[in-house]
Symmetry: C2
Subunit: 369 residues, 2 copies
């Protein structure tokens, strides 16, 4: 097993480094005071400190089920397994499907690629178009795979999203071929214009839908979940149990307390959408200004801008940039091309965005990369 580039970088950067690398939320946008109060309330009862059940804290499962129902996706608490972040959710699923073949997007989420390796899974990649996954190749690939792993909303790393038509077609292909979908949806609520219907919703008997509070509340919570049909979910519980007994009852209760005021969560999501859209627009303007050769498509949500300096070896570039106090992730880490790059636009503030891009520009000028 290799460590993830991003996680290693997190341990080697210092406070002076401007990081466009990790998929980090903006610290100033955390609902910090509300979470601090929720935390205090969560511990009001000493019973909150005791062992809990493997599938998760009942009230939280009910709240998540209700969230799906509100979005038109009928869901009961029995369809929810709370996990220690959605990273663990994916690992639980893949451990159960150990050694299976899986069709994935190219490029794809680094943490998922590591999980597939860890579980000896064979991956086949299908390129992303402007409309989502390339359907002809997907149909061909899935015929030889047991599972599909897709991130239809503002994909990590590419920032792409699937059109409604592509979603319907993907659901149809999976239904016809009777293959199982793992839909990873950490960015679904971070849309700039409009939300999209999940593919799982059209395929509820054959899908695992992975959710997370990391991008919309706080990643330090490490609270995520798997939504699936009861028959699909049931065998996973023994895995969850063997892996860490259950997710922290304290962090589950913090989320549950926070969500009791549904209106304030909705307001918080709206704040994030507006703020992140503004940051994305700013990042794009600064790119045009300082690095006009960077080719990319503006994302419609999420946390990433993905593109390329045509022909530039982005691994060599990032090594030079690291020495000059700025960092990003080369696309090759995600299975992308040698010249591709992923920028995170949510973590840094406006001044850091400008300064970071200027630093990249001067590295490129100096090194002739």
């Amino acid at each position: 097993m290799r460590r993830s580039f991003i996680r290693e970088i997190l341990e080697h950067t210092n406070s002076e480094t401007i990081s466009f690398a990790g998929g980090l939320p903006d610290v100033s946008l955390f609902p910090h005071k509300a979470l601090q109060i929720a935390t205090y309330n969560a511990l009001e009862n000493a019973e909150s400190l005791q062992y809990g059940t493997s599938t998760g804290y009942t009230s939280l499962k009910e709240q998540i089920a209700e969230y799906y129902c509100q979005r038109g996706f009928p869901t009961a608490p029995e369809n929810i397994l709370i996990t220690s972040g959605s990273q663990q959710g994916l690992d639980i699923i893949c451990r159960y499907h150990y050694g299976a073949s899986v069709t994935i997007e190219k490029p794809s989420y680094l943490g998922a690629l590591n999980v597939f390796k860890l579980n000896s899974m064979e991956t086949t990649t299908v390129p992303l178009t402007e409309d989502g996954i390339e359907l002809k190749s997907f149909e061909k690939s899935i015929a030889k795979s047991k599972l599909a792993y897709l991130i239809p909303d503002f994909q990590n790393p590419s920032g792409r999203y699937y059109t409604d038509k592509t979603r319907e077609n993907v659901a149809k292909i999976l239904e016809d071929s009777q293959k199982i979908l793992i839909e990873d949806a950490p960015y679904s609520e971070l849309y700039f214009d409009a939300p999209h219907k999940s593919i799982s919703q059209m395929l509820s008997k054959q899908s695992y839908h992975l959710g997370s509070f990391s991008k919309v509340l706080s990643p330090a919570l490490r609270v995520g979940w798997i939504r699936a049909d009861v028959e699909l979910l049931k065998p996973l519980i023994a895995y969850k149990e063997a892996m860490d007994l259950h997710t922290s009852g304290i962090t589950q209760r913090i989320v549950s307390e926070y969500l009791k005021d549904g209106e304030s969560f909705e307001k918080h999501l709206q704040t994030l959408r507006v703020a992140y859209k503004e940051k994305m627009n700013y990042f794009c303007k600064q790119l045009e200004l300082h690095l006009p050769n960077f080719e990319y498509t503006q994302p419609k949500g999420g946390m990433f801008i993905y593109g390329k300096f045509n022909g530039v070896d982005s691994r060599a570039l990032v090594q030079e940039c690291l020495k000059n106090g700025v960092v990003f992730v080369p696309g090759i880490e995600f299975g992308g091309a040698d010249d591709e790059i992923r920028f995170n636009f949510t973590h840094s503030n406006f001044d850091e965005i400008t300064e970071g891009l200027k630093r990249i520009k001067s590295v490129m000028d100096l090194t002739n990369l």
Copy 2:
């Protein structure tokens, strides 16, 4: 994968059931108010809500290292990997040693048996004597194993502890054979008379020492750790990362805040030791009074009393008991004999202990079991 009997029971008992089943701490002894305050302080800074590093929160690693040093076991923060409970610690180690052979005690911890199955490991069992593991059989078994998994302090389920002589002999055998020790130590601080030197301390290059805050602070935290030589620890980090990125920064900070007042933690441990010893003594007296046929050895620490009703099928007995509002774990679940039983004595209060044992007595009288 089968689910654990204890975890399933936890989901099927109701508020009327008296449970001697799970290894649950006494809720009334949680340092509840102190943890609530620590929690509030832990969230004082919004940065606590951000992603953290895979190996764990630096201050907490320093505090744990200091704890080892105080006990005469030289340890640096680099020797510590924070895990989501020590259950995950064991799983990380076993995933790295996937498919390896391991020598274990008979009976052994149920959660560990599940981890070994999950990681396709072949187990060989060695009986426990009054002095700890049976040394001749251990020496023979370890010659054919890659690893040993031992719980020398107030073992789960047997309650046994290893004498100092046995510890030295085990260390010598492992050193001579160059095999690796996994020492699981969740109960080490819950001694009634005196602490014991860990075996890992005599074998620091060849051991993983698993620690946990579940039994001494709160299991809902899900904070544990692996202490190992840097060379042994290093390859585990990529596994931890792929499994759940990192342990909750919030729960890690709660523990770290709480531990800042080292004296009050020491006092809390002393309170636990005194209270649990008193409960154990009470449980034993009630056993003599109501179930004098139960054969067992009084434990010198930990949370369990293990023994047998000679010749009684304890699985049949527990099914009847469940219907009558009392539950325990049959020894066979831990790889023990058909007539063996594990009682947890820490969770119930004095009245519940008396009432629970009376209920077992009346079930035995009525069913002729």
